[in-house]
Assembly symmetry: C2
Homo-oligomer: 554 residues x 2
């Protein structure tokens, strides 16, 4: 159970979100709808910034990732192939007395609707057997509401990437290793939405599927597979230098899934650090073999220590998941190949040439390992042993022809969770006592300038002085093409600063009489720039303002 102090912290955050227009309850005027949240003016900007930074880092800043924007409703067979129709469910029971429906594993925690003093598990009403309740939102497309027209709202953005793998490969001039990135809405009909926006029914994902060669292929071409130690694990330096110029494909040629997996964990941590979440605020969970899906080779969750995060047995807060980075083998493409009947493999000239030059024993060894992986996958996926052996043989025979099905590393992040983490991380309170012994608590949202919804506020000292207002509007118009600027002329400068602190605006620019040259040419066309986090002020020339701000916010 979360402790009262942590509940209080969440209450303050929820209250600020509503008061300042970060997050509202969806459909609030109709009493809301459980598990759905809207982003208000500041929240919408914050979210846009985060998505834009992710897209920029993951696609535009790299040569080896292409973007995709697929539909939310896709052919229902996609969810058969992905396993969501069969297994994406929670166990539910019905109470025959009160007709309530409950998560079977939570009956000890949920009060009985008819006798709330008792838990569902204690009430005498007869219960049904637990049955799986699928978490996908279901609908129908076309004019008939028949079983043939069932469709689902995607519960993740990843599957569209697999389904369009071949189209993207053929049109984007990419070669394995390369990735496909997508940002978009997903839906899960959670039985118990909770922790504000952390677990909601409609949410947004930022997912990369990074396709790599299977280790057997690497070994055939390069003789061996690089150890994961090739990635330096300081979290600050990876094989990637800061600029991508150091990142030649040659440097990663012999990377197998372990190196790529570690690489992407480090890349993603650097991303979080770059938008203000320090290493100390994060946690890691390396899934144990028992936790991993049968096809997965590893999964590392990047956690953030939320106010509602629970303590482990040692009393340490480990955090809740922001992102999972999974090594998913060739499961996904293989499934779509099986279900669609369309080949999902790639052809690699280098592999074919290398294979021909391998000694027979090496060929046999690699063939056998590839065969066994394929056979295990097929059997786990329900293919009968004989057929599995036959298909796996065919797959392994493909190696000599330069053919294989790519494996994938999947960094999958939740946008709304990240927004909540950024808000919780930024939230800062100061209680001040003024000369009249009146105490006031002021909130400052210490967002990293890269994600801050408003980058700079431009404030004329007084609103009834035409020259100040005109000059301030000039400054606003100078900056506005490059960043989100808030212009405010109402109230004392102190109150305007305080309002911007609460909005998380990192810089306030004030136009005063000095700007107009009333104290001489020295200060003419300079402005005061005030820093949010320490309240420090400095004087800058207007001509240097844009460059100063661009350096801070990019």
């Amino acid at each position: 159970m979360a402790e009262p102090k942590e509940n209080l912290q969440m209450e303050k955050i929820v209250s600020l979100c509503k008061r300042r227009g970060f997050i509202f309850q969806s459909s609030e005027i109709y009493g809301g709808i459980n598990g759905f949240w809207d982003y208000g003016p500041l929240g919408a900007e914050l979210k846009r910034n985060v998505k834009e930074l992710w897209w920029h880092a993951m696609t535009r800043q790299r040569d080896d990732v292409a973007g995709l924007e697929a539909t939310i409703i896709m052919h229902p067979k996609i969810w058969e192939a992905s396993g969501h129709i069969a297994t994406f469910s929670d166990p539910m029971i019905d109470c025959k007395t009160c007709k309530g429906r409950f998560r079977a594993d939570q009956t000890g925690e949920i009060p009985c609707p008819q006798k709330p003093s008792k838990m569902v598990s204690e009430c005498p009403g007869e219960k049904t057997e637990a049955r799986p309740f699928n978490l996908m939102f279901k609908s129908h497309y076309g004019p008939l509401e028949s079983d043939e027209n069932v469709c689902y709202l995607r519960p993740e953005t990843a599957q569209a990437i697999f389904a369009q793998f071949k189209n993207v490969l053929e049109t984007s001039r990419q070669k394995v290793p390369f990735g496909i990135a997508q940002v978009g809405k997903a839906f899960r009909n959670e039985v118990t939405p909770r922790n504000f926006t952390f677990r909601s029914r409609e949410f947004e994902q930022m997912e990369l599927e990074f396709f790599i060669k299977p280790d057997e292929v690497i070994e055939a071409i390069h003789g061996s597979v690089a150890s994961a130690d090739v990635i330096r694990s300081s979290g600050r330096v990876s094989a990637h230098s800061e600029s991508q110029s150091g990142f030649t494909s040659a440097a990663t040629d012999n990377w197998g899934w372990e190196a790529w997996h570690k690489y992407w964990v480090e890349e993603r941590v650097k991303f979080y650090e770059g938008i203000g979440l320090s290493r100390e605020t994060l946690g890691f969970h390396h899934q144990t073999p028992a936790e991993l899906a049968h096809y997965a080779r590893a999964c590392t969750d990047i956690l953030f220590k939320f106010p509602f995060s629970k303590k482990d047995e040692h009393g340490n807060v480990t955090g809740d998941e922001l992102e999972g980075i999974a090594a998913r083998s060739d499961f996904d493409l293989s499934q779509h190949q099986r279900f669609s009947g369309k080949p999902m493999g790639v052809f690699d000239d280098e592999l074919r040439a290398a294979w021909a030059k391998l000694p027979k024993e090496k060929q046999d060894e690699l063939w056998k390992r590839y065969y066994e992986n394929r056979k295990r996958y097929l059997e786990k996926s329900g293919v009968a042993t004989e057929q599995a052996s036959k298909d796996a043989t065919e797959d392994a025979n493909g190696l000599a022809k330069g053919q294989y099905i790519p494996h994938v590393i999947e960094p999958s992040a939740g946008v709304d969770r990240l927004i909540l983490a950024l808000i919780a991380n930024a939230y800062s309170e100061i209680t001040e006592t003024d000369e009249k012994s009146k105490t006031e608590t002021r909130v400052t949202m210490k967002f990293h300038p890269r994600v801050a919804p408003i980058k700079v506020a431009v404030l004329p000292l007084l609103k009834n002085k035409h020259e100040l207002v005109g000059k301030a509007q000039e400054v606003r118009d100078l900056l506005r093409p490059w960043m989100n600027v808030f212009y405010d002329e109402a109230g004392s400068i102190g109150r305007r600063y305080a309002r911007q602190d609460e909005a998380g605006t990192p810089f306030c620019v004030t136009v005063d009489f000095d700007t107009l040259g009333e104290k001489g040419d020295e200060l003419k066309d300079t402005v005061t720039i005030r820093h949010r986090d320490d309240g420090q002020q400095e004087r800058l020339k207007i001509s240097g303002l844009l460059e100063f701000l661009l350096c801070k916010i990019r």
Copy 2:
């Protein structure tokens, strides 16, 4: 019926979209799903650019618009209030023989599923009466699939803006007139999706609701309402100067709905011109009184002349709708006030003060006009006459207290239609005959640099010269933080130019031996920049490249 030539043009566009990764059929490997389309790597960038430019122009470049990002699934009562549950439908009939379902107004055009030589209207099968088929996708939220848990995928983004009007007003420091902008997915279960992405079942909208004072309020405060002629209708100049600094709120203080409506039509046309759709490619449709909804005062559709657009009775192509700009009176906020029981009016001190100073006859005149508008709305909305009179009286009495319900101007644009218009507009073919008399048809996508998916391609002359590659990668890394850059070293320069022409990349930068200083210091650190549309080349210093490109693409 579209003519063959126009069909051919659409076929070429559809083919290019798939071949170059602009647009794919959703779930193509499973045979597709009718009415759903995915954006590939180039399409995703094009769409991001368009949405970003809209958001920038509509919110960040203005003081008077706040953003919102609401959920797709909202409380179902919202769709009662908006009228979608009652009236958002097409008439459908069922055939009792073949069990087919058809649009009642299209039975003469649809072949009978059992005897395709006959149309449905000619087949002897007994038909049901025409019944309305609602176009909203329906689902259920929460663990029960009961009528109480029905929800809908929003068929438009606008309603969330109305539902959150008060929350945004209270948190954003805006005062009427101001707007709320939103970009997001919407869904309509079209019976007949058609014309490629023009009419699809899942699509994206960019909508602004711009809230204004009712004309009676303007008149009470300012004595009269500005004529719509205040907007100059050249389409190039509006009351807005190019920079917003000329746009003081004082200049628009006395604008009524007609001026605001005309203003927004002009603003939106300027937006389209700014991304490459010239006036000549656009058309306009001013809805006639018979076409307008009962609450609407005017609606101007901005059309684009698509290859599939039909000719009018004079043989002119008028075009198909990109955007509608509607003057919707106070209908939307009024409906949500009625259905939610939450007040949607605003309080205006200036109105209260002005009202008190008006002569009694003027008060009576304005009161009466406001009363009559309110009463007409209430009666049209199904409120009984007596109650309508009572409620309208109360509403009109609010004027003296400074209270009114804002009216709204709604510029509502379809993203996917705009993308299709940009693609159709950009598509350009040249057929060339080479020295061996072989003819080749080459496609150039002449996108405006602002929307082009790739802004610049960086090409080393040869890929096996380390110095050229290194220098080209330096140039790539210099530009990449600021724009989408494509780095390509494969194939002849001519082939690489041709590939970029097809992708619509406005500029190609080539790094050659001159860049390395092999012809002396004069040309050292210069590159060739090649212009897509005329093939012209010029030599530029690398140090000036970023600024050159930024000026072109912004």
